[in-house]
Symmetry: C2
Subunit: 241 residues, 2 copies
């Protein structure tokens, strides 16, 4: 990369103006950005400078380039937090100042799978409550949740409750979830879940497969949460070992 | 899900045998699995039971289903570790008992971008060393690394060194990396990087964007690491807040 000092200053200024224009709603979230040529004319900078500015905004996750389609304005993440902090999805959405909502996909009592034996230490004779829900923030679908819990801990009548499963477990079984072991997986397009979350075909999701434990290290809840990456952003502080 | 007790036992046994057959190399990593019909005949179970077994193995990340193509055997992860532990990629590969290798893509001295100002606190007059490398484990490409460091900290002659950047920074600038703040992003197919890592079009990658700090909280290294998810698996312990 090489550019003159003055075009560098132009770049800085143009990036700032572009950001403000997005914040002020001049360009709308998820909209396609006008062409580089148009933008350069608009912001009174050279074509090359405008291209650089767009690249910087892509680097900063303000814009997304879709091959052969154009450049799009990202929705701003509503939630950015240390992944080592465990909160219910409900709390995460509230914390971002949005109203959490729930659309039930299904709630069933099922036999445990091998997976459940391993993760929930369930016996063969146990029944598992399996709840699939779309979690919304101000009405927008943002997380797809599959939760599995031993049916004894969560009465059938509560499967469609509006309360978080964390809260239901506390109220009905005096089980307080203390921590979770989460496996972090990137997921490319999923035929079922991506369209529900309004994800584009080239948008990956972040899947957290979580085993939730009580203070006495008893696994009580296994959940698979698919997060829209433009809405939820996770970071972690990694200590040198 | 509903099945008889005896087919449940069949399922357990068949899953175990399938796992052993994969471990013993009867089915090879990355190969396509035979049809459900053939497998059922092979393992002497019903078609339905075999379908369940395959689903369980998919759940356990032993197999991957590719829509319209078939079911494939995953390569077993060579590295599974708490994401909050920071090691160099070199150490991660060694830790898994594999021999780390490096293929250089490019090493350049570039002007800092807005991004670098923010993350490396570099001045406008600074030059940035940008190193792009493919990291290999026993010769297989497993991580794509883009590293950026202030050029003053890493002499030009060392840009192609076989040592880890962590080690080079210690030896040449007495800078010991103490921790990193890593942003966790799922990435779908990338036209440049996915083919280099031998990723299938429907395989997502895990990107860690990391700002590395010294003990005195000075940011000295910014890196973007693209991990093949079938090779590296990260988990995190999340504490309830």
């Amino acid at each position: 990369m090489s550019y003159e000092e003055n075009s560098h200053t132009d770049m800085e200024k143009t990036l700032l103006t572009l950001k403000q224009d997005i914040e002020n709603g001049f360009f709308q979230e998820k909209e396609k950005l006008p062409s580089v040529f148009e933008l350069a004319k608009n912001y009174q900078v050279s074509y090359e400078t405008m291209k650089e500015v767009i690249q910087l905004a892509v680097n900063e996750d303000i814009l997304t380039r879709r091959a052969g389609v154009g450049v799009f304005i990202n929705s701003q993440p509503i939630f950015s937090s240390g992944i080592e902090q465990l909160r219910s999805v409900t709390k995460m959405i509230q914390h971002a100042g949005k109203t959490p909502g729930t659309q039930y996909v299904s709630a069933d009592i099922v036999n445990p799978t091998k997976y459940d034996y391993q993760y929930l230490r369930s016996a063969e004779t146990d029944k598992i409550a399996k709840i699939e829900r779309v979690r919304t923030a101000d009405g927008d679908p943002v997380v797809y949740c599959i939760d599995k819990v031993n049916q004894q801990l969560l009465p059938m009548s509560q499967l469609h409750s509006k309360h978080s499963i964390f809260q239901l477990l506390e109220e009905h079984s005096e089980m307080r979830i203390s921590y979770a072991v989460a496996f972090i997986e990137p997921i490319s397009y999923d035929e079922k879940i991506s369209p529900i979350l309004n994800c584009q075909p080239d948008q990956a999701m972040l899947l957290l497969k979580q085993i939730h434990y009580t203070e006495s290290d008893e696994p009580v809840l296994f959940s698979e949460n698919y997060f829209r990456p433009d809405v939820f952003r996770f970071y972690v502080v990694r200590q040198r070992t």
